[in-house]
């Protein structure tokens, strides 16, 4: 594995988006992962629609009846991948723009640009997470966002942080040495793309520590899913 890796430097990550006052983080995590997978499959970065999932995806996890995708009321990335496999795929952001509230579904199958070939759940193992990131592109992950409301920058590594996952984000890379002035040392970290706009965090991104001493900080390693895409040609 490379010591440092960042999919932003390879063109697989779209612009930072803003979910607004709507609990649709799960759809941004899902679209970000598919944008990356589609880039790997086709060499082209397409900015994909979250609104399609907000409006049209009501897939439920059969083993947990309360865990259904439900627009601004929340959802899960894995069930969203399942929806995308069933529905055929995602339209572009331009075709189906984000409005930040749930509307009636206007999905147009003829405008699909990215399709899910397969998706998997990655084990709670940092090396495997890094390997899947490098091989398959950005990963959809869950995190405990308790420290994110007040986050401005730097490598977050709270002494204590819950592992209950309440926020869906996108893992786009990792670094081996983020200097932390207070501890006078370097600290390895994950690079996470959020969906709260560029005026939050480090231009929309969050860094959280990784490595043996930070194992699964804020539950960041607990729910990681990878997706592969197939190339869709427009007729």
């Amino acid at each position: 594995l490379p010591a440092d890796f960042d999919w932003r430097e390879h063109g697989a990550v779209g612009p930072v988006k803003d979910q607004g006052s709507c609990g649709s983080c799960w759809s941004f995590s899902t679209s970000g992962a598919l944008e990356g997978a589609h880039f790997l499959a086709t060499g082209k970065l397409e900015v994909l629609s979250e609104q399609q999932m907000v409006d049209c995806d009501h897939e439920c996890d059969p083993s947990e009846s309360r865990a259904c995708d439900s627009g601004c009321n929340g959802g899960l990335m894995t069930t969203a991948f399942s929806y995308l496999m069933k529905s055929g795929g995602l339209q572009t952001e331009k075709d189906y723009p984000y409005v930040g509230r749930e509307n009636t579904c206007k999905f147009d199958k003829s405008k699909i640009v990215a399709q899910v070939k397969n998706f998997s759940v990655v084990s709670v193992n940092e090396d495997q997470i890094a390997a899947n990131l490098v091989k398959h592109g950005p990963l959809a992950i869950g995190i405990n966002a308790a420290f994110m409301q007040t986050y401005i920058g730097g490598v977050s590594c709270p002494f204590i942080c819950g592992k209950h996952l309440d926020h869906g984000v996108l893992l786009v890379g990792y670094g081996s040495a983020g200097y932390t002035p207070i501890r006078f040392k370097d600290m390895p970290y994950w690079i996470i793309k959020n969906s709260w706009g560029e005026n939050w965090g480090e231009h929309g991104y969050y860094k959280i520590c990784r490595g043996p001493r930070a194992h699964n900080k804020c539950g960041v390693d607990s729910m990681v899913s990878t997706v592969t895409a197939i190339h869709t040609k427009k007729e």
């Binding site: 959802g75 759940v121 420290f147």
Partner: protein
């Protein structure tokens, strides 16, 4: 009742309350709090419906400044402070901006574990 609600939500944050001492040395005067809040309003283009709503949001903002200081102590390698969410209670923040259901259980039928990849070399 709004102020009491904000205080109650602060008390519901057990992780932080367990380890942080008093903030007496960091208490702001009303004037300082007003200046901070006015700066926050300008920076993030905030506008409130009436004076009552603004006063409530200012009380939430002050509580969040104290919370940010506690976060800074608990998370010293990051920088914590005023963000565009500083006028929201933790419950409002959860309701409006978080949305991962089921605690993130990935037990979807049909999904499968990713194959183990080699990580050396």
């Amino acid at each position: 009742s709004s102020s009491a609600s904000a205080e109650r939500e602060e008390e519901e944050d057990p992780l932080i309350e367990q380890v942080v001492g008093g903030d007496d040395d960091e208490l702001m005067s009303e004037l300082e709090a007003e200046a901070h809040f006015a700066s926050f309003e300008r920076r993030f283009g905030k506008a409130y419906g009436d004076a009552g709503e603004r006063a409530y949001r200012m009380s939430v903002f002050s509580a969040n400044l104290r919370r940010a200081r506690r976060h800074q102590r608990l998370d010293p390698t990051a920088e914590h402070g005023v963000t565009k969410f500083s006028d929201l209670t933790p419950a409002e923040f959860r309701d409006r901006f978080l949305g991962l259901r089921g605690g993130g259980r990935p037990n979807l039928a049909g999904s499968r574990d990713a194959p183990i990849l080699p990580t050396d070399g």
